[in-house]
């Protein structure tokens, strides 16, 4: 098989407006930090999507695995009182 010459994988997070959280939008290949940042800019912000960018080497992201689904997430299923649905939200409040 041909040797992979495309560099490592980086995950890309784009912030659409100042103050908003950075959202994961995909990944790029790159050999160094500057290349990763530029590639992310070129691939993911060419239609006016962004005001800020994060790139992170994919191997630095620690992920839960599919087997964790039960023990990690199901215990939250019957804790309905954790949702803030019992409060009245005053009119005019956004971003809740």
């Amino acid at each position: 098989m041909a040797k992979d010459t495309q560099g490592i994988l980086w995950e890309v997070f784009v912030q659409t407006k100042p103050g908003q959280p950075h959202r994961h939008c995909g990944s790029v290949h790159a050999h160094d930090r500057e290349m990763a940042l530029q590639n992310a800019r070129d691939v993911y912000t060419r239609r006016n999507e962004g005001t800020n960018l994060w790139v992170v080497p994919a191997n630095y992201i620690v992920a839960s695995s599919p087997e964790d689904l039960g023990p990690f997430f199901e215990p939250a299923n019957d804790k309905v009182y954790r949702h803030p649905t019992f409060y009245h939200i005053p009119e005019g409040v956004t971003h809740m």
């Binding site: 010459t5 495309q6 790029v28 290949h29 160094d32 500057e34 530029q38 070129d42 691939v43 060419r46």
Partner: protein, 252 residues
Amino acid sequence: MDKNAALFNYILRLADTNLILGHRLSEWCGHAPFLEEDIAMANIALDLIGQSNSLLQYAAKTEGKGRTEDDLAYLRNEREYFNSLLSEQPNGDFAFSIVRQFLSDAFDLHFYEVLKNSKDEMLAALAVKGHKEVIYHFRHTSAWMQRLGDGTDESHERIQKALNELWCFTGDLFEMTDSDKYLVKEGIAVDTNLIQDKWLRSIDEVLEKSKLSRPADSWQQKGSRQGIHTEHLGFLLAEMQHLHRTHPQATW
């Protein structure tokens, strides 16, 4: 000196260099070393063609003979094109295209910086847009100069060779005609003598970081201001203009 004719020639020169360089870069579309760089090169090509489109519209308006930007782009021959000799050089390998772009970006960086103060409002406005774009282009190509220059033996050798081969076309970038000098006096055009040192400094800074050496000053190929080109432009125009000349009134 007919101010309008001088201005028309001046705008055309800027438009042509952007168009030809943009077209050259667009030839990489689908062929760049990897997907992300393919998109990066196409993005830069589109910036340049966009600049050219605005400039050609302005040129057509300045000329006032009813020609459109399409007429100017698709119905002029080699000797009526005034793009820089550097812009028309064929892509070669990736290193060659990067050096061509880098030398050109460094020029535009300082050129637009001055053109932003032009007394011609339209040129000043287009320079503001162009300057913003070229700051990124220069950052992109500078990073590649470093990566390839300070990379493997092979990448170093290839990019140094490209630099040596292209250096003889850089003097042409700074050529000024009598009509340009007239526009400089009018506060409209850029006096390229005043940006040459800055251009050289920007290049030297990057070359030093890239472990590359600047070719010695030697004979320079000039002539684009008189419409005299290297043999490559004719082939480029044949390809670029073919569709329009075959179907003259075709629209999307």
